[in-house]
């Protein structure tokens, strides 16, 4: 039986972009390409939603530092994943929106975004010229709202895939409510499936007793891939005021502190479903990327660490080819889920 998660290389011409440039004579070229739900990724890297795109300033910095070409600033990415997009503008949360914790951070942004119409007119238009396929992260309060966003985006040629965010701890109605209930998650997935034939990724929350339950439910409802994990629910306290730091008390923990939790979620979900996975949570180095792939991720998302190190993405993209070459890995796709075969 062919595992649909491995790269389908037969008959597929991989462009030079997918091959690591190799300057030492005699060194073998590494194939960094992966396929996820029929989508070709030149390498297994994407941005985690809400932490990067549209990324005009990153494009500026990367080109200025010579790690990207102007006009194709994001060519070092397999895909760019956008911030959550809702049918109309959402204002986001009041009060303090971020706080730091040891090796991590909490956010309570609350999915602020200008709504799908403004997104298409501004961010999407700009992103489409940056040389990477676009995954649009979709959010809503109700099933109908998710469907409305997708229906609008179906008119846009430049959208490569959708990522349904059913896992945000930062909004009151729905958001994570879909993600913690397998029945609601499946219903939402099915409704969205009905309005698009584009690849549809569902993003899971770790804030559940058994993440594999929701994973299986959305797979059965028609999801093409899963991404995990969204942030972990947590809080911080302002000791001077003796008050919670965040107006909503709860916020989402991300960053290096959550990597082991994310790896374990990817590892377990890989065993539970047959669709491919986008793994994320605390990635900050090339070895983190390899670990997520070994646990079962086809694509790996880099999120809040871009705040710490704005050059982390191009650096990992460059180092991934080197790491593979040094470790005798000819095709990066051979790493996917390799831990399970051992």
């Amino acid at each position: 039986m062919v595992d649909i998660r491995s790269t389908e290389q037969d008959g597929l011409a991989v462009g030079m972009d997918g091959l690591a440039a190799c300057e030492d004579a005699g060194c073998r070229q590494v194939d960094l390409a992966v396929t996820l739900a029929g989508l070709q990724f030149k390498n297994p890297l994407t941005t985690a939603s809400g932490t990067f795109a549209p990324g005009q300033k990153y494009a500026e910095l990367w080109t200025e530092q010579g790690v990207a070409k102007s006009g194709a600033a994001f060519a070092s990415l397999g895909a760019v994943t956008t911030k959550g997009v809702s049918p109309v503008a959402w204002p986001g949360n009041t009060g303090i929106r971020i706080d730091e914790s040891a090796s991590g951070m909490l956010n309570s942004i609350g999915l602020e975004n200008p709504g799908v119409e403004a997104f298409c007119a501004d961010d999407l238009l700009w992103l489409a010229a940056q040389g990477a396929p676009i995954i649009v992260n979709v959010c809503g309060h109700t099933v109908a709202e998710y469907v409305a966003v997708i229906e609008r985006l179906e008119q846009e040629q430049t959208v490569s895939a959708y990522e349904l965010n059913i896992s945000c701890p930062n909004i009151d109605n729905s958001g994570m409510a879909f993600g913690i209930d397998p029945v609601a998650a499946a219903k939402l997935t099915k409704a969205c499936r009905a309005v698009t034939s584009r690849p549809m990724i569902v993003k899971l929350t770790p804030n559940v007793t058994d993440i594999t339950e929701v994973a299986r439910a959305v797979e059965a409802a028609g999801a093409d891939a899963l991404s995990l994990i969204n942030t972990l629910a947590g809080m911080t306290i302002d000791l001077n005021r003796r008050k919670p730091v965040f107006d909503r008390v709860v916020a989402g923990l991300s960053g290096p502190a959550i990597k082991p939790v994310a790896l374990w979620a990817v590892y377990r979900v890989y065993q539970a479903v047959r669709i491919p996975l986008i793994g994320m949570g605390g990635v900050r180095s090339v070895t983190d990327v390899v670990e997520f792939m070994l646990a079962g991720a086809t694509v790996v998302g880099i999120g809040s660490y871009s705040f710490t190190d704005p050059l982390v993405i191009p650096r990992i993209a460059r180092q991934l080819a080197d790491w593979c070459a040094e470790n005798g890995v000819e095709q990066v796709s051979s790493l996917i889920g390799a831990l399970h075969a051992a």
């Binding site: 809400g50 990324g55 986001g92 971020i98 951070m105 960053g255 704005p310």
Partner: protein
Amino acid sequence: MINANAKVVSNINLTGNLWQIVLAIDELPELVIPGQYVHLRLEQKAEHMLRRPFSVHRVAVTSEELTSLTLTYQVFGEFTQHMTGLVEGDSVDLLGPLGQGWRLPVRAKAALIVGGGVGWAALAMAAGSLPAFSVPTYLLVGARNADYLQALSVGINDRPYPLDSYGSAAELGASFIHLATDDGSLGHHGMNTELLEELCDNVEFDYIAACGPEPMLVKVAALALERGISCEVSLERRMACGMGSCLSCTVQTRSGSRKVCSDGPVFGAGEIIW
């Protein structure tokens, strides 16, 4: 904008919890505009994943390759506490210069610069630039006490006023200084904003720049609006990326939600919904 290592040239305690650090960096690709900031990270402290923003207080070109940036900082929490431990030769990860600075008028009848405490750091370069455009420039700065005011080097073009002339509307070139301290140890006893009305009655300003605690900014903005004076304020919000990507730093304006890190930190005062 670049992301590179800067070397600590010096790091001294000015007074109380006020410190000043000088960083040297290879060739900044662009000029630092008055009001811009840098986003710092201390690599020695890996458990800190968030950078912290600091206004550029002064810029100087030390030799042909090196730019030196002076930052004046107040110790608040862990990050600024760690900063006090930096010594000459240490390296700091610097991202910047970032943000939109002051849109200083090239022609104006008179300009007023209102600073509260360490907020002066964001204004010092503006205070140096305006007289260069021959704009008569007035400073109205408040701080905790005389030591803080002296440590902040309030003045024009790095020429702080001699202490005895503080608070007495002394004249230096085209400029005038008014000072206030919380404890009355120098200048007006109380808040600098208490001098605002009178100053504006006496001088016809057509530009105000303000940086400091938000309640001070609210007062300055209200007065400017009332009198139809064009006014800019520099805002502070907690920042993660500094790159306009994460939306941690938003402020509500009359043209919608804006990012303090990249649309600001300087905004037209009339734009802000306080």
